[in-house]
């Protein structure tokens, strides 16, 4: 008799060449042959990221995420909310990254025992147990070269002997007895703009995903409030559990006892209904003619509505049609590269100087005799704008209560391109 096993049953880690390099079972052992269904789906998918996230098998469901070119495949036996599983897997990835600096197959193999201890600590009988990195770090100390050496010599251990203090308090995200000599709190407002621009240059859709990431190193139990010049922008927000929601609802002020160290305080979404300023424009002329083995390629970039801040780290990439054999292009600045196998064109522009707009011009050679390509390439743009949040969000002030000392405070703004696409 098999009872419905709620929650996550097993976890397999699969690398990009399709080998299982780690397995962990929280209930009974599930044979790794269950992954055959995953491999089938992997084979069918044209690109690694096209493997469907939920795969049914006769007796299990496989829910997977692809991160750092590793598939994290969770096995569940019956009805479990898939988002629950996916969120948990993300937490596993984040924890590995936090512990080992990178989340790669090599790093995981190097730390396989810690990985195992972590996974055991994160899930009990398939129920999430401790997923806050603060608490985990008290239970299992992250490996450092120094500690490894010291441990080998002294025989001391990676595992904390005491019950983590935060785990049961009203502020489970913060441990007690935190002490710093330099008390500091830094906040980064980072906005990513996603946009689709059509051929003629008009905006089809544009939206901003913003986050406020914090690095707080404050002694004791500080109670912070953060207020904004224009809180009305934030109508669609997700908070870290530390934020007092009622206060936000009533006063539009973020009031919280911060976790210790790095954490994401807030993420927000500014939708396309609000007017989103597009910081860059592209003039393009990419043409193929019927019967000709040459195509024209012209691209010019320029800044637009950047509030006086410069566009940096501009990178253009575009998947050219299959019929394009090679390109002969001239960049006015930066370097360009075309891979004739993958047909991927990339142009590292660097900074945009408004006085001398960067351009990339030249010709493409096409397969002789073939009909002209049906599709027009889409241009993908990456860029950064320092010291500016595109939505105009501005922090008004940060106050601290509950502790006597005067902390050092800092706020930084940055805008990046997310999925920013220009159709031609």
């Amino acid at each position: 008799m098999q009872l419905p096993a709620k929650m996550i049953h097993s976890l397999f880690l699969v690398n990009s060449s399709g080998d299982i390099f780690l397995e962990k079972h929280w209930k009974s052992v599930v044979s790794r042959s269950v992954c055959d269904y995953f491999f089938e789906a992997q084979e069918r998918a044209s690109e690694p990221e096209n493997v469907p996230p939920v795969i049914p098998t006769p007796h299990h469901y496989l829910i997977s995420v692809l991160r750092h070119r590793i598939y994290f495949v969770a096995v569940i036996q019956s009805e479990v909310p898939p988002l629950f599983v996916i969120e948990f897997l993300h937490r596993v990835v984040d924890t590995f990254q936090d512990y080992f600096g990178v989340c790669t197959e090599a790093a995981i193999k190097d730390n396989v025992v810690v990985v195992y201890e972590l996974l055991e600590e994160m899930l009990d009988n398939g129920f999430p147990l401790a997923t806050e990195s603060n608490i985990l770090k008290e239970l299992i100390k992250p490996p450092t070269i120094l500690r490894t050496v010291v441990n080998t010599i002294t025989g001391s251990t990676n595992v904390g002997e005491q019950l983590p203090t935060g785990q049961l308090s009203v502020v489970p995200w913060r441990r007690t007895g935190v002490k710093y000599t330099n008390n500091e709190a830094y906040f980064d407002v980072v906005e990513e703009i996603d946009a689709i621009i059509d051929k003629s240059g008009s905006t089809i859709t544009a939206e901003i995903q913003g986050v406020i990431d914090a690095c707080v190193k404050l002694t004791g139990m500080p109670d912070l409030t953060l207020s904004f010049m224009n809180p009305r922008l934030l109508d669609d927000v997700s908070f870290h559990p530390c934020v007092r929601f009622k206060r936000w609802e009533a006063e539009r002020i973020l009031s919280f006892i911060p976790p210790d160290g790095n954490f994401r305080l807030l993420s927000y979404h500014v939708s396309c209904q609000n007017l989103v300023a597009i910081p860059v424009y592209v003039k393009h002329n990419i043409t193929f003619r019927e019967g000709s083995s040459q195509g024209r390629f012209e691209l010019t970039l320029g800044p637009k509505q950047t509030m006086g801040k410069g566009l940096e780290a501009v990178l253009i990439s575009s998947q050219l049609p299959r019929g394009v054999l090679n390109t002969n292009l001239n960049p006015s600045q930066g370097t360009y590269n075309f891979d004739p196998v993958t047909k991927l064109l990339s142009w590292d522009v660097g900074k945009i100087n408004p006085q001398k707009l960067p351009s990339l011009k030249g010709s493409m050679s096409l397969q002789a005799g073939a009909s002209k390509p049906d599709e027009n390439p889409t241009i993908n743009i990456q860029f950064k704008i320092q010291q500016s949040a595109l939505s105009g969000l501005k922090v008004n002030r940060l106050d601290m209560y509950g502790e006597k000392y005067k902390p050092f405070k800092g706020i930084k703004y940055m805008t990046k391109a997310g999925k920013f696409q220009v159709r031609t």
């Binding site: 006769p58 009203v170 159709r423």
Partner: protein, 981 residues
């Protein structure tokens, strides 16, 4: 191989101080070496050895042989070592139960340790050791830990109760742990509450009728308080539990909604979606004119939009759920169309889902934008996506009437691209547009016709042929176009053949003078040269219609068609309601009823959205029927999805865009059935050898000896008459087709079903062979039929009482009644069946031989027969031949009697025996037949007449050039279908 890889890795990392050093031992003597190290006196060496063991375990190597040595390391004050040993124990205790007992004492001791971390660790690990012998020892420590002063231990113990229940449910109940667990819901620590809820929910899942989660306003209040303070995971458990509650009235509903709404701003998307579920369910109870109702609607949109900016995997699950939400409450996201616009580097599974939602949200207000986007997508590279985008344009045209013209011109633009698959998809959808808006866009036909030659997919060819036939009068060269298809008629797929047949008949009715030759050509191709029964039948119908009554033919063939509906793929409302109650679950991702996802049927609980109740109306106790664990009768677990659900699913099977053609292309099952009828069928019915059951053989052998005088003919009806006189419906060796595979194991997750139909002792039996070709046990079988032509329905449950193990086979026979709901099927004897087991619900269709429906009292009074027979005018008589039958008339008669085809009289004229026979179908329809047997000629001639028991109306005859006796069934089918039209 794996080993070699590791060696490579080792070379790479071996020099560093990392765990990869644990992989360096060579296979030879590895276990031996580890054993020595585990028994070392040095603590550090021991720990290193255990780490090596764990490392081997993680890569799937079997290190169970070291069990006693590892367990020996357990008694230690080093916490890390202890944890590692526990890790090992959990993995291998099951395979070494006797050894595991050795660990019990340490566990019990650790449960008393002063350090709560160790107490919790011990109780947690003990629960993971799924060995019966150990669980007995677990009870006492668990009881203590459930009441521990430290909440960390209590919350760990709560989960342990669920683990123990999984191993031994009875023990948990006997020990009273369930009550303790219920008490923990009122614990002062929110984390303990959350874990208790999670544990109770899991236990309740396997105990649908227990009153475990007794939700009442007080406990709901406790849960809502804990909701604010527990971890994100705990919030999910609590919200999912809240979703099972049915508030007493709209006021309670509103107050719960108000307290749940803040969860919409949580960073964890699973919390957000669970909150959406609660709100979607409870808002059903709110009056629509309430201010709060519209506030709530507005609050739901932003979190759903935010989910779409997350990682693609999260997006996918969110999109599947949003698909349900926009079907239930389109107003929530009606202004958010743009967030569903596709980015070219979205994964394909996200693209397809977004497209689906775009169409659902399309309205007059945003159609221009949507169309521009769709047109853009139609030029992308991914073929599947492009096809779906083109179809989407067609669906927009059908959904938003004002946009139809723009859609058509967009489609025409796309046709101009001459990209083959784009053109074909466009033509298929334009056909649908014609059906929705007849006589409006026919001007484009000329453009379509230009692309005739490039169409190579059946669906597109069929669509084009339909268009030509439908608008034949406006296309000057319609006859030429259709004729060009006719050349390769036999190479076409059935879909195209059927369309071509219909289209040419339409053409003929519209332009009779020029196309006579063409129609004759297609009719003879369809009826004489084709072995596809669908095609033949349709050909004969047209032929008969055209030759008897051209006016009627016109009325039938050129009848006005019903307009196709707007939305072709909406989820059936009861299923949608149920799925809304399951937002965020696998069921909501697959859009299938939740019962399909629970192993075993016990956990199945149909959830319904609550009805709106005013606060004044309800004074009685709340209806807890929908709560998990509730005991109201309404919530009794049901094994099979309700009729509505099943029908919805059966209908969902052919969700293809509406086609004009009647019969769907034949399934393989049908083709096989057809072959059997023609091949084996004749043998069994009339074959000279003793084919089927012994009884039939006996009837045949005895026939010449028995000559009852009941008929004035020289030779009587054979042994069958004796049985008949006795008036008992004995098993008389009715024709039973051989068993064929109806449901291949490939399609049904390992379950193979083959079967046949038989009529035994007056009861129709469905005889099934179920074979389990999967790796695990199958249980909880159930069966259900879709409505069918003769009202066949199971007369009892499917009797599979024992679980079906892997590679086991079981034979079941299922008695059928004919009193079920009736719906005309195509072909007439088609039966759609749903079979369910603990894994899934499977659907297949099969065809039963019409002779199953011939009832035992089908023997007509001679006088009545004579009168009826005479009523039929001679020129209506038609005949067909049965070839190569070497029975004499008596043997044939007795054999037919076995299948309830009764000989009423026999006459001999000029050396020709003439048998007059009657048949009665289970629904009261009579069929009369004459069978002529010429001595020394192996060919029989048969004439059939059918009359209905109710209307007494004679129907037309039917000719068949070369027909076997079993095609009696076919001709009856055809007559019936004619009667029905």
């Amino acid at each position: 191989m794996e080993w070699a890889n590791q060696l490579c890795e080792n070379r790479q990392f071996g020099s560093k101080m990392t765990d990869s050093k644990y992989f360096t031992t060579t296979k030879k003597g590895e276990i031996f070496e580890l054993k020595a190290e585990l028994n070392s006196d040095k603590k550090e060496k021991k720990k290193e050895a255990v780490k090596k063991v764990i490392a081997s375990m993680t890569v799937g190597k079997d290190v169970s042989a070291l069990f006693p040595d590892v367990v020996n390391c357990m008694q230690t004050d080093n916490l890390e070592l202890k944890k590692l040993v526990y890790l090992y124990l959990m993995n291998y205790a099951k395979s070494q139960p006797d050894m595991a007992i050795m660990a019990v004492n340490t566990f019990v001791k650790d449960c008393e340790d002063a350090n709560p971390l160790i107490r919790a660790l011990a109780v947690r690990t003990m629960g993971c050791i799924r060995v019966d012998k150990i669980t007995e020892y677990l009870c006492e420590p668990l009881r203590k830990c459930l009441k521990d002063e430290d909440p960390y231990v209590r919350k760990t113990a709560a989960v342990c109760v669920a683990k123990l229940h999984d191993i031994n449910a009875q023990l948990v109940e006997d020990q009273g742990f369930l009550d303790t667990l219920k008490d923990l819901i009122s614990d002062s620590n929110p984390m303990v509450v959350a874990n208790a809820v999670a544990a109770l929910s899991e236990i309740a899942e396997s105990h649908p009728n227990s009153n475990l989660l007794d939700l009442n306003p007080q406990s709901i209040n406790k849960l809502l308080t804990a909701l604010n303070e527990c971890t994100e995971w705990g919030q999910i458990f609590i919200l999912d539990c809240l979703a099972n509650y049915t508030p007493r009235d709209d006021r309670e509903s509103q107050s719960i909604c108000e307290r749940v709404t803040p969860r919409l701003s949580h960073a964890n998307s699973a919390v957000v979606l669970s909150a959406v579920k609660v709100l979607m369910k409870f808002m059903e109870m709110l009056p629509k004119d309430l201010d709060y109702y519209s506030t709530l609607l507005k609050k739901l949109a932003p979190p759903l939009v935010t989910l779409l900016s997350a990682e693609p995997e999260l997006q996918y699950v969110a999109l599947r759920n949003i698909n349900l939400i926009v079907q239930k409450r389109p107003e929530i996201l009606k202004h958010e169309m743009k967030v569903f616009f596709v980015k070219y580097n979205d994964p394909i599974y996200v693209k397809l889902e977004k497209l689906d939602i775009m169409i659902r949200l399309a309205s007059q207000a945003n159609i221009a934008q949507v169309l521009a986007e769709l047109k853009e997508y139609a030029t992308e590279v991914d073929v599947d996506f492009v096809r779906k985008a083109v179809r989407a344009i067609g669906r927009c045209a059908i959904k938003v009437e004002q946009s139809a013209e723009r859609c058509v011109s967009t489609l025409l633009d796309l046709i101009q691209t001459k990209v083959n698959y784009v053109v074909q998809e466009a033509i298929v959808v334009i056909k649908d547009i014609f059906r929705k808006y007849p006589n409006k866009y026919e001007s484009v036909i000329a453009t379509l016709c230009e692309n005739l030659d490039s169409l190579d997919e059946p669906e597109a060819r069929a669509a084009m042929i339909w268009i030509v036939g439908e608008y034949a009068e406006r296309i000057d060269n319609a006859d030429e176009l259709l004729e060009s298809f006719l050349e390769g008629f036999h190479d076409e797929s059935t879909q195209v053949q059927l369309q071509l047949l219909t289209a040419i008949v339409k053409l003929f009715l519209k332009k009779p003078t020029e196309t006579q030759e063409l129609v004759q050509q297609v009719l003879s191709l369809a009826t004489q040269d084709s072995d596809n029964p669908d095609l033949r039948d349709r050909g004969y119908i047209y032929w008969r219609l055209l030759s008897t009554d051209p006016v009627a033919a016109k009325e039938v063939v050129l009848a006005e068609k019903p307009l196709i509906s707007e939305e072709t793929d909406l989820i059936e409302p009861t299923l949608l309601e149920e799925l809304i109650c399951h937002i965020g679950t696998l069921a909501s991702v697959y859009h299938k009823p939740p019962s399909a996802f629970v192993e075993g049927s016990r956990g199945v609980m149909h959830k319904r959205l609550p009805a709106r109740t005013g606060s004044g109306e309800s004074t009685e106790s709340p209806d807890v029927g929908t709560a998990a664990g509730g005991s109201a009768p309404e919530a009794a677990p049901s094994i099979i999805p309700s009729q509505g659900d099943l029908l919805g699913d059966l209908l969902n099977l052919d969700m293809a865009p509406p086609t004009t053609s009647g019969p769907p292309p034949p399934t393989t099952g049908m083709q096989m059935g057809g072959m059997d009828l023609l091949g084996g069928g004749l043998d069994s019915l009339l074959g000279g050898d003793i084919g089927g059951s012994p009884a039939m053989g006996a009837g045949f052998g005895a026939a010449p000896a028995v000559m009852p005088a009941s008929l004035n003919a020289p030779v009587g009806g054979g042994l069958g008459d004796l049985f008949d006189l006795g008036g008992v419906g004995m098993p008389m060796g009715a024709y039973i087709p051989p068993k064929i595979v109806w449901l291949p194991a490939m399609k049904a997750k390992g379950l193979e079903i083959s079967g046949t139909f038989a009529r035994r002792a007056g009861v129709i039996q469905m005889e099934l062979i179920l074979t389990n070709k999967a790796m695990s046990v199958m249980t909880d079988f159930a069966i259900q039929f879709n409505r069918n032509s003769f009202g066949l329905a199971p007369a009892g449950p499917l009797q599979v009482l024992t679980p079906l193990g892997p590679n086991q086979t079981i034979e079941v026979s299922l008695p059928l009644s004919t009193v079920g709901p009736v719906m005309k099927m195509d072909p007439l004897n088609n039966l759609q069946v749903a079979v369910k087991n603990n894994i899934d619900v499977f659907y297949f269709s099969c065809q039963y031989p019409i002779s199953m429906l011939f009832v035992e009292d089908g023997k007509m009074e001679r006088q009545v027969f004579l009168a009826t027979w005479k009523d039929i005018p001679n020129d209506n008589e038609s005949q067909f031949q049965i070839k190569d039958c070497h029975l004499n008339s008596d043997a044939a008669s007795s054999k037919l009697q076995g299948s309830n085809i009764f000989t009423i009289a026999k006459r001999t004229v000029e050396g020709q025996d003439m048998l007059y026979m009657s048949i009665k179908l289970s629904n009261g329809i009579w069929v009369l037949a004459e069978l002529r047997v010429q001595a020394g000629n192996s060919n029989y001639t048969m004439t059939t007449i059918r009359r209905s028991g109710s209307s007494q109306k004679m129907l037309t005859f039917f000719t068949c050039a070369a027909c076997t006796l079993t095609s009696l069934c076919c001709c009856m089918d055809l007559m019936l279908s004619q009667y029905n039209t």
